[in-house]
Amino acid sequence: MKTHLHGPLLSPNQFGPRLLDRRDFLRTAGGLAGNLALLQLLGSQKLLSASVDGSVRPKINPDQPYAPRPPHFEPKAKQVLVIFCVGAVSHVDTFDYKPALFRHDGEKPPGMPAVTFEGPTGNIAKPIWEFKPRGQSGKMISELLPHVAAHADDMCFIHSLTSTTSAHPQGENFLNTGFTLEGFPSLGAWVTYALGSENQQLPAFVAINDPRGKPRSGKNNWGAGFLPAAFQATDFNAAQPLANLGRPDRISAAADRRAKDLLAEFNAEHARKFPGDTDLAARIASYELAGRMQLSIPDVTDIKSEPDHVHRLYGTDTGTDLKKDYAKNCILARRLLERGVRVVQLFNGSDAQANGISNWDSHANIAKTHAMQAEIFDQPTGALLADLKQRGLLDDTLVVWCTEFGRMPFLQANGTGRDHNPSAFTCWLMGAGAKAGTTFGASDEFGFKTAQDASTLYDFNATILHLLGLDHERLTYYSNGIERRLTNVHGHVLKGMIA
């Protein structure tokens, strides 16, 4: 038993593909379920959890994969809301004020590439919307997003982010999983793998898709990759319930109850032949959790139960249909966070189109497309931020606003759209742990490349994990030869963004 605490048992490979496998679990636990108290003691002293390379292994009971688990260190935030604007928001038209663009409007800037993602480039274009100082901080934010801008004093902006790709699906993957390729665990999967959840009646990680559908890289944005499937997000939104959640129409409630009871009876009888088998116990527990979710998910998605003033605040009854639906998703996000769901990922934009707009991508006529997208996004998101703040949820909740890359300070050859810019773009943090009312890093005078504190999305993700009490270098999982991390082999916590 002792050797389990130092030697081979803590080598990287022991925990890989069979995290929820009872055999590994029991072996890790010294082969003795009765020693759990000892294990917890050791775990709290980080004796058991520290392996040779410093990785921390969350100790996951297969019966309860979503049970809350301790972070690596005292966290600033206990929950996280990730608001992802799909399609690449133009930083120079929203949060990153560049007066030089007015002065050089219509000119060719020095050092401009002849070809960017979509082809030949055009001339510099000034921001399409007016910028105004906001709040005490005086942060210059454009009139495209007035409701969101109202929270400038609570936000910490980063203007010096870079991505490694200028293609959308790869950019989504890179932002959300740390790899441009598909099949790697998403941020939410990593976080719930590490921390479980505070609510055992709801999924630990919920992806609220845009009313139009899924983003370009689809499920990869919230997938579990090679982590056990238990840690992928459950995706539903205010309009689309979780598949197979409800009792089938053709079965009465009473019959359904009796079927569940009989299933429990048969499974219990069967388990008696295999005493102590946690695989069987885990499957029994999963049916119980499913039963609880059948009650709790309809409850949390019951947006109609919210009072009228809340609906007015979010704007569920004004504007375009897309905006109304997105506003309901914003209310849903708040309701999930209130109930302790660990990670909520809220999408604005999708691959599919409705009413002539699919997402923030704006290769032609950016003035029109960004305006259409902002109409959907601005009021409901501003209301969500206000609501979270007013309810005190920001004390424990980190809000992350992100987009996969920025857009160019110059137009494309067509003269109306801005191409992708992975060399400098803006995201922001708000709430628990974020350094409110400040700006970190800077892009150059045109917003074309980074100029100060150039940072990668690895850094950004490392910072998010840090605020949740997780060390991005120690949150690892063995997969096919490598201790994988959200941040690959990169990343530095951006201390300048932390309160």
Partner: protein, 904 residues
Amino acid sequence: MIPPAVTRSVDFETEVRPIFEASCLECHGPNRQRSDFRIDVKKIVLAGGGSGEPSVVPGKSAESPLIRYVAGLEEDMLMPPDGRGDPLTPEQIGVLRAWIDQGAAWPDHASATEEDPRDWWSLRPLARPAVPVTAPALRHPVDAFLEAKRAEKSLAASPEADRRTLIRRAALTLTGLPPTPEETDAFVRDPFPQAYEKLVDRLLASPRFGERWGQHWLDVVRFAETSGSESNLYRRNAWPYRDYVISAFNRDLPFDRFIHEQIVGDATGVDEATGFLVAGMHVTAATIGREESAIRQARSDRLDETIQSVSTSLLGLTLTCARCHNHKYDPIPQKDYYSFAAVFAGLEYGHRPWRNMPDAAARDRQAAALWSDIEARRAALRAQQPAWTEEWPSHLQTHFAPQTTKAVRVTFPASGPAATVDEFEIYGAATGEKNLALARHGAAARAFRTTEVPTREIGNVIDGRMGGPFAWQSRRLGEQTAAVPWFEIELAEEAVIDRIAISADRETIEETDYIVGARDSTGPRTYKVEVRLADGTWYEVADVALGPPAGNKPPPSANALAALNHLVRDYTAARPQPLFAGFFLPPAPTHLLGRGDPMDRREVIVPNGLSVLGTDLQLASGTPDVVRRRAFALWLTDPQRNPLTPRVLANRLWLHVFGHGIVDTPGDFGKAGQAPSHPELLDWLASEFVASGWSAKSIIRVLVTSAAFRQSSAPNATAALVDSGSRLLWRFPPRRVEAEVLRDATLFVAGTLDSAMGGPSFRIHSNKKRYEGWKVVDNAGPATWRRMIYQERMRGIDDQMFTAFDRPECGQVSPKRTMSTTPLQALNLFNGEFVLAQAEKLAARVKREAGAELSAQIDRLFELVYGRRPAGREVESARSLAAQDGLSELCRVLLNTNEYAFIE
């Protein structure tokens, strides 16, 4: 500024080594090798550690990274780092510089030696260990090996499982389907001493075997039918590779040949086998963009997918870790990665003709006959009219009387629908199939205006790349009219021409399926073709004005042109169909890429296998593609030169029989992987595998006839304390079945399974637009009641039912499935339409077979689902529910139970 070199002669042992030992050795010595670098090994310092770059360049101290690091000239790279010791003094740096400038003399005896990299269990030569002698002697070699290990831990094997359990276990393991009640009864009552062996032989001979074991192989190579990424386009005819794999397992194709065909089957008449090489994802051109760095990166990523498939599935090595630097754990220099890349430098993702498709000979005959018909019709038409336009399925061909010219102009209407042209081709009788319009043949294109939509410049129509996303357009989006649009192709030299081909989105029509509206976009319907005469004037050779597209099947017609259009469609259908199995081009030189960056090309690397095994395939950077791949395949399957492949494969066969591998990291036999629980047994099995002629069925037969497989899975508290995971096989380890087994078995017991094998996958998704996700429309209806291996496999798409059961999504290779338990599984199985519908079918079947009496029905139901009769309290509980809520509710319950979902 770097401190200057001292001006005296410097001695390594008395002056340099002490500096290394005092300041560097702690992190870069025998105990730790940060960044894979050791300062005490001469070879590493002079030839490179993890980064692959030398730290010391003799004679050039100012350029030597070592000096740059200790002098703090490289950002964030000051050595020793902050907190790890004081910076070197200028005097010390001066000593190091002088030593380097004086030639970096380093006596060999003063260098530590690394361990012999080949001295690692998986890389050692394969030898056949003797079977251990046990007391009492065990008849089965596998059991003898296992018993020796069990005895060390004072564990004993369990008694043989009862026959009902055994037949179910064997049937699920070998075929992925449960036995029928009749088969179970027959086996239980079979008095023949070899009854079990007979059963195993029957199961191995069943075509269901290949459907079960083929899936294991498809998992490893993450086979899917779509490209992945944004458009996630369906790869037309990718499924033949799936059928090939199933058939290979069913035929027990010797595995060395199986490997050989998957690497170089294009040269051995098995076209579909090379689907293996392109099973991973690839990003389509439209999503890559136009930047050179992105284009190179995407190419490099495609090759990486191939290298990942080969190294994970066959070598059990994580070779792709060496893409940017030397492997962190294993003796794989970065150069090896690019040796593999060079082997596949001729490979490109895409289609090529499926020459050996079923009835190939008959199809060839038919195509030849149709072609003579076409030629005859054309000759007849030529006599009647100066020009005509044929509507081929993917493009249009305008034929006209031969013209001698150096330029062709095409003009489109100023109003009406805009014209889209992805490719334009020019041919002449004398030049045959050579497309004179190609830019690479010296042609040039220009159009009526020079500023175009960025992605749609006119050069795209002669770049040889088919596909709508980069097609030229006669009008910009939203534009109602333009000046009369035209483009001109200037040929390299004057030629006699008599035919042009024009298309709008040929790639989509020829190479993908299920895209909304694709087949209507054959090409522009209205255009004029002119040639330039010697005097510079333009002469019209064809004025084309076609009606609306006729769709797939234009009606037969007496009209000569309509008949010809009919023929060209039949001809296209008769010709070898495009097969998604990669295509091959003359390989360009392969460069090592500094830190994996495709823009940082370093030295040229020749194709080769693993250097640690002393491999020399004797290939050069100019060796033709097929020769490279053939030599590589032969090396892969030669146990004398490469002991990894048989070990890796033997371990995989073990994994799928016992639920865990002898090495439980089946894709990683390196230092970060798991050590084998029974190394001698693995080597014995690998040797046996080679000796059997690489027969997978032989090895599987050996495994399932062992007492280890036949023993009971009942728990034993004492043994569980010693070996809770049953890795030492003191019992058969029970496990949950995979998604496919759950689905297939449910159809099987309900009596609804359609056992038709092979061919195009059954559909569960709707057609989609190019940029749109696939949507599941029917994952439960009768059209889906085939085995799940035939379900269309869209990369990264949740099938809304069984993906929740850890079914791989085919993004990354999956050497071993995860096995998790989630409430989504419970919801899908308990409430999903699939199980509900099958529960009703099962109830109907039971009533049909057992008659009207409820207790007989319940008996039959238990036999079908569990292979046993109900017992004890079960009888009354089952009866009560069925009586109250109907038999199908009872079926629903049974199909959700643990007993049904586990192999015991």
